[in-house]
Subunit: 363 residues, 2 copies
């Protein structure tokens, strides 16, 4: 059952959806298996269950906050019960349509900014891996057909920088069918105006066209291809961190991207019969190598997957997790104090404190 | 005399000054040597000679415009006279104080954006060339003493991203003594407020402190070191392209950086006895490899320095220049038509038209 939950998690993420997994950690020995205490929620679920029963009210409230901010919530609601609300965000994709002189630095910057980058051009000499070593995917296909090969969704940031505004317009017609995180189109004010008027006359709504950032990029007076790429990536980051999809405006507080341990989650979704303990960081203080949400998994046959940052103190928690697996203990909260671990090293102050929750998944 | 003009040009540029060289191209055979017809002007000269005689009025007006916009001016004022107004801008320097996790991507981005980058830290493990391969200079020195080793001027963009706000504050005290193009300091709003209050109490004027961009960078919600570096470089580019020093505000039209052929200008400043012809692009139309201001020099002993973009049609102008050198012709205006040179190649339309002026410097 828990395996299905994590399979479901991956399915939602592949669709570009943000997900929350809410866990009720219960001291009551009658609810001894944390498996039954996990629920997966998406934005759509939260809207649907807006008027949830008061029993779930706190969970839904915290889940909403986690989806918005990317911050993990660890809330003790009673002596018996603690809620662990973990947000999981899909990896943001940067789709660059056109492989010319602006795409070259943009693809590089996109990868540096943490995007999985796809670049598309219909000319083999522009759409090839050696030209774009930082791209996850390089697709050589017409701008007409390429949309069948990519997956545009709420986590897609789409930039059209093709060699001509006719191609840009063709792309735009396709892109506007999808619900994407960002759309930007290159072009002078005059050219952009022409494209917009054309699309309006074809029946595209003004509201839809307003989603297009054109002329593209923040207004920094960019001249060179590199400068234009900087202005674009700055705007894409702004949309990733500050754009509020519900209001369509730039908000004040920035969205965090939660830690994501793919290997751990994959392991949890696998059809083996191993018992597993998962250590999750739930709060940190000071300088720590990994943040809230980072995970380390220990299987009953001794395998270790993921990391909560290493250090001497980590060993003690691993031993605790092993003890719990042997003795069928459901969950436990532990503190890892690393303030003594690392000395002041060339001026970089290291060391911090983190609280972790250890959950056992017994099969 | 002309050699001194070009030496003077380099001296001014080294001080971070923008320079205009105005040339009067005269058909009157009495003024046969263009050497006597060149004048070098800086912003200060233009302010000083604001009320210039009407004889120079057009030159001063055009020179002002060239200094502001970076655009070369080529103006026929009468049947006999044409003015060539060439702006020369110093290479912009990015000075990064602190060699930590933000400096790492910032130095790389700075070089990509066309800055000559200097990075400074007092820790050898942070201030070393392998860590910053893209930096022009890596200086390992205390933040106290390093200012004696660098040249801060109107072309300097200074970023303080040291490991502590005490160091940032020490740096700021030094930087504020200079007239720089940009100052930015890292830090949270709270921390920045503390630094500013401290410096105010030490007697620094509010006006001076207002020059400091702190918290640094455009507000894009940057979280990771790379994102912070993107937000900083975007702001630095904005200051380079759009900041109006005279009004202290962001302007609408962007400043161009004129082409700069160091080798050609160096050759013109040299103490040899060679006659030289210089071909300068004065206007372009369509897709051309180099822009207004680009230069190609031909010496009387056949040496070629610099480039106006190559292509078959370039050869004809070189022949004209050689003929002029042999026959003591002062200057000539020529058109280079490259529209037939390069065919449409994989969708990239090449070819354009450019006007050049050929000037002979006879010794």
């Amino acid at each position: 059952m828990e395996k299905n939950l994590y399979k479901n998690l991956f399915e939602k993420l592949d669709l570009g959806k943000r997900v929350v997994i809410a866990t009720v950690l219960d001291n009551n020995p009658c609810n001894s298996n944390s498996f039954q205490n996990k629920i997966l929620l998406t934005q759509e679920d939260l809207i649907k269950y807006d008027k949830a029963s008061s029993f779930y009210e706190t969970i839904y409230e915290k889940a909403k906050y986690a989806l918005e901010t990317g911050n993990l919530q660890f809330v003790k609601v009673s002596e018996e019960k603690t809620y662990l609300i973990e947000p999981y965000f899909p990896e943001p994709n940067l789709i660059v349509l056109g492989g010319g002189h602006i795409a070259k630095p943009l693809v590089e910057f996109g990868a540096k900014a943490g995007f999985s980058v796809t670049v598309i051009d219909d000319r083999p000499s522009f759409a090839n891996k050696p030209r774009f070593p930082e791209a996850e995917n390089v697709i050589c296909e017409s701008f007409e057909k390429c949309f069948d090969l990519i997956n545009l969704n709420e986590s897609s940031f789409v930039v059209t920088v093709t060699r001509g505004h006719r191609h840009d317009m063709d792309c735009l017609r396709k892109i506007l069918k999808y619900d994407t995180a960002y759309i930007g189109m290159i072009g002078s004010k005059r050219r952009v105006k022409g494209v917009m008027e054309q699309l309006l006359s074809e029946g595209y709504s003004q509201e839809k066209l307003n989603r297009v950032n054109a002329p593209i990029g923040l207004e920094i007076g960019a001249v060179t291809p590199e400068e234009i790429a900087f202005s674009i990536i700055a705007q894409v980051i702004q949309y990733r961190r500050l754009f509020d999809r519900t209001t369509g405006t730039i908000k004040k507080s920035k969205t965090n991207w939660p830690e994501f341990d793919r290997d751990v989650l994959t392991k949890l979704s696998e059809e083996d019969n191993l018992s597993k303990a998962v250590i999750t960081i739930v709060s940190t203080k000071g300088s720590v190598p990994r943040k809230e949400g980072a995970k380390l998994l220990i299987t009953s046959n001794g395998e270790l997957v993921g990391s909560i940052g290493g250090g001497c103190s980590e060993g003690a928690v691993i031993n605790t997790a092993r003890y719990m697996l042997r003795n069928n203990i459901t969950y436990q909260i532990e503190r890892i104090d690393m303030t003594g671990d690392v000395a002041e090293n060339e001026g970089m102050v290291c060391g911090g404190i983190m609280d972790v929750v250890i959950e056992c998944f017994n099969f």
